[in-house]
């Protein structure tokens, strides 16, 4: 074990929506470290709390779980940490079970499993204020006697009960739970036999062997339960023998185990819970009857989503401008402070530009994370999934994919990071793969430029502009659903989709928790994706700078002469069939940094003087004129309306965003999926562009 810390390790365990994060934040304050469990994309939260005597205590906030028989990557991490299977996380010495006291029975199911682990447990009953408000009473003393462990009523939101909890955590004599539960007779012999074999043949600690044995019996898939190491031959044989025998007897062993736990919990609950007088519908019920109403439900969903998008586009604009100006100012300052040379250019045009690209998108990402957090925190997220499930099921997904996909209209990065709430790994991967097809805000400048270049007059009729824009959004959306449908039928074919989801009661959002979560997620994005993005920026800078042209060359000549220019020439045979020349090719290559870079790099390639690329509101009129005068060597116009349309279609589908690639790499834990995604998207972009351009040319456009 690590010598650096001798602090006892506490794990907070509980169902989703029971207030775990709030308790964790209250216990650790800002002393927390957020990261990922290596190998899986599950958030790892660890922090330090202090005992009543001022001694440090390590606290791990485990992902929410309904059962140790894991069904999602989140639950698998919780199970593995508790069973001491993860080398990257210390095995918890003590376990704090947090339960939503308004819903004691179901919450106690997990507690019941945790009590089998042979470690001291503290039971914290959260949301006692709501229990009181509902007229229900819980006899804490009796519960404590029945379980033999400290039971602490608390209200994590306002810190009530926190001192008592810390006092309990400071105890050195925490008792082991007294289990008022006997494994049903028909199964007890099997559990004993498996337990002995697991301890003897599989090297499981005697303490956790019983829990491991019970888990083997509740899950159909023994490999999944045993973790990466397969069961020893002896244990597997015992398991198979018992299962065969039970099958012959027609016994449902997994069901029997679950039933018997619930029976024990039911007896306990009957003893300690006094239900309040049956009252009418709760506030939550009343909100729900509006929010999931066949008419009002859609209206509210529409309003909520419009509100989010309007605030992203209006609020994010200011900080994005400031950041853009700040980055330019910084680059200017470095330019003045350093002697001219390659190092200076590497810093200003490579590193600072690259960092600028990442940071400029940050306000959007932060705002989106904030709203996603708010939707999760209040309970609305589950309702949106409930309403949308039917529609998503048409393409083989479920309702939980809705919010991530919708967020991707603003930016695919938070959308992809929000897919963590999707339990099924295949559904999650499908959502990640198609999310970047939703037209994000970085495509807008490209669409706008092409619409401007397409129309003859100076002023594009508003209706045409809006119509074309909506058309692009529609194609992207249909594309996303089409590919999702395709992937779920071929590549990521899985078991029939299930949608088992709790609809948590509505709660007022804990703004502090939402804000903390937002900052942590954005930090993860910067830390994890930042390096990849910086690396690609520097490569792109290198490609457009070297080999150097003579000092007398104009910027346009320099770009032509550079590797990027040569690459543009090199790919011309590939893009000629879709109506693009090598100059557009340079735009495609350079806008791999981010789609909107297409506009500024096109300005350089087509020699537009004094084009202020750092300003979003730059006048694109001179650029438009330059594009209109661009010609093929044989004198044909380059940017015909058909080519403009083809280019827009190309940008709808093509994966032109290194930040997204970096995030997909992080979220899927391999290069395999981002590479596949880039290939399929760019391939689809080429094919659709080819069809449009060739058909368009053939019919005379």
């Amino acid at each position: 074990m690590k010598s650096e810390s001798t602090a006892p390790v506490f794990a907070i365990v509980g169902n989703p929506n029971c207030g775990k994060s709030t308790l964790f934040n209250a216990l650790t304050g800002l002393k927390q470290k957020v990261g990922n469990y290596p190998g899986v994309t599950v958030e790892k939260k660890q922090g330090t709390a202090y005992s009543q005597h001022g001694l440090p205590l390590t606290v791990i906030d485990l992902p929410g779980a309904y059962s140790l028989a894991a069904r999602s990557p989140d639950e698998a991490v919780t199970r593995d940490v508790l069973l001491g299977r993860r080398a990257d996380t210390p095995t918890p010495d003590r376990i704090i079970c947090l339960v939503d006291a308004t819903n004691l029975e179901r919450n106690l199911y997990l507690v019941h499993q945790v009590m089998d682990l042979g470690r001291p447990v503290i039971l914290a009953l959260n949301m006692m204020d709501l229990v009181e408000a509902s007229g229900m009473t819980i006899r804490i003393g009796r519960l404590q006697t029945a379980l033999g462990i400290p039971v602490i009523p608390c209200e994590a939101v306002n810190g009530k009960g926190l001192i008592e909890l810390k006092l309990a955590m400071s105890r050195t004599d925490l008792p082991l739970p007294r289990h008022a539960w006997d494994v049903p007779g028909a199964i007890a012999a099997a559990v004993a036999e498996l337990q002995a074999s697991l301890a003897l043949n599989d090297g499981k600690s005697p303490l956790s062997a019983r829990a491991e044995a019970l888990l083997l019996l509740t899950d159909q898939d023994s490999i999944r339960v045993a973790g990466s190491t397969p069961l020893s031959a002896r244990t597997a044989e015992i398991l198979a023998t018992w299962k065969k025998r039970w099958e012959a007897e027609g016994m449902d062993w997994a069901g029997t185990l679950v039933n018997s736990r619930y029976e024990a919990i039911g007896r306990l609950a009957a003893e300690v819970v006094q239900p309040g007088a049956a009252s009418g519908p709760t506030v939550s019920d009343r909100i729900d009857s509006v929010v999931t109403h066949p008419l009002w439900g859609w209206l509210i969903l529409g309003v909520v989503m419009t509100l989010i998008f309007v605030s992203i586009f209006t609020l994010a604009e200011y900080p994005m401008d400031w950041i853009g100006n700040g980055v330019s100012a910084l680059a200017g300052w470095v330019k003045g402070a350093l002697a001219p040379g390659d190092l200076r250019d590497l810093l200003t045009d490579g590193a600072i530009q690259g960092v600028g690209t990442i940071v400029t998108f940050l306000p959007q990402i932060l705002i989106l994370f904030f709203f996603i957090g708010l939707l999760e925190n209040t309970g609305y997220m589950a309702r949106a999934a409930f309403i949308m499930d039917r529609m998503m099921s048409r393409v083989g997904l479920n309702g939980r994919s809705f919010i991530p996909l919708l967020s991707s209209y603003a930016c695919a990065i938070p959308g992809i990071m929000a897919t963590r709430t999707i339990e099924d790994p295949k559904d999650r991967l499908t959502t990640i793969l198609v999310a970047p097809l939703m037209s994000c805000s970085a495509r807008l400048p490209v669409y706008l430029l092409m619409i401007a270049a397409m129309m003859p007059g100076n002023l594009v009729p508003l209706a045409t502009k809006v119509g074309l824009m909506l058309f692009m959004y529609a194609i992207g959306t249909f594309g996303a659903f089409g590919f999702a449908w395709l992937f779920k039928r071929t590549l990521l074919k899985g078991a029939p989709p299930l949608m088992i989801m709790e609809l948590p009661p509505y709660r007022l959002p804990g703004l502090k928790d939402v804000a903390m979560h937002m900052v942590q997620r954005a930090g993860l994005f910067l830390k994890r994706a930042g390096t990849v993005i910086l690396g690609i920026s520097i490569i792109l800078w290198f490609l457009s700078t070297y080999p150097k042209s003579p000092a007398t060359a104009t910027q346009t000549q320099q770009v032509e002469h550079s590797f990027a220019g040569r690459a543009g020439h090199a790919i011309e045979p590939l893009i000629k069939p879709i109506g693009f020349d090598w100059r557009i090719g340079i735009g495609l290559i350079s806008s791999f940094a981010a789609r909107e870079v297409f506009v500024s790099s096109t300005a350089v390639v087509f020699s537009v003087e004094n084009f202020d690329a750092t300003n979003d509101h730059a006048d694109i009129a001179p650029l438009r004129v330059a594009l209109r005068h661009a010609r093929w060597p044989d004198g044909r116009a380059l940017f015909t309306p058909l080519v403009c349309l083809t280019l827009m279609i190309y940008y709808v589908f093509a994966m032109q965003c290194m930040s997204t690639i970096a995030v997909v790499r992080r979220e899927t834990n391999s290069w395999r999926w981002p590479i596949f995604q880039t290939l399929y998207m760019t391939g689809a972009a080429w094919i659709f562009s080819f069809i449009i351009y060739q058909v368009g040319t053939a019919i005379g456009f």
Partner: protein, 79 residues
Amino acid sequence: MAAEIRLSELAAGKAAVIRSFPKSGSGFLRLREMGLLPGTTVTLVRVAPLGDPIEIKLRGYLLTLRKSEAEHIGVEPAP
């Protein structure tokens, strides 16, 4: 004793007691672990605006599942 019907056939607002439950399938094991067991009383709260999934109340909380799962669960409507 009322006749057993499918959970998916239960009318909105009606309560029923779970009678039969499929033995296999990890999804059904999870439903059990969420407290949906033979003998449990459930109330069908509502059906989603597009006709699927359904929302039920059991043990004091709300759960949603698709009709394709609810079809396999037999319930006896409360009188």
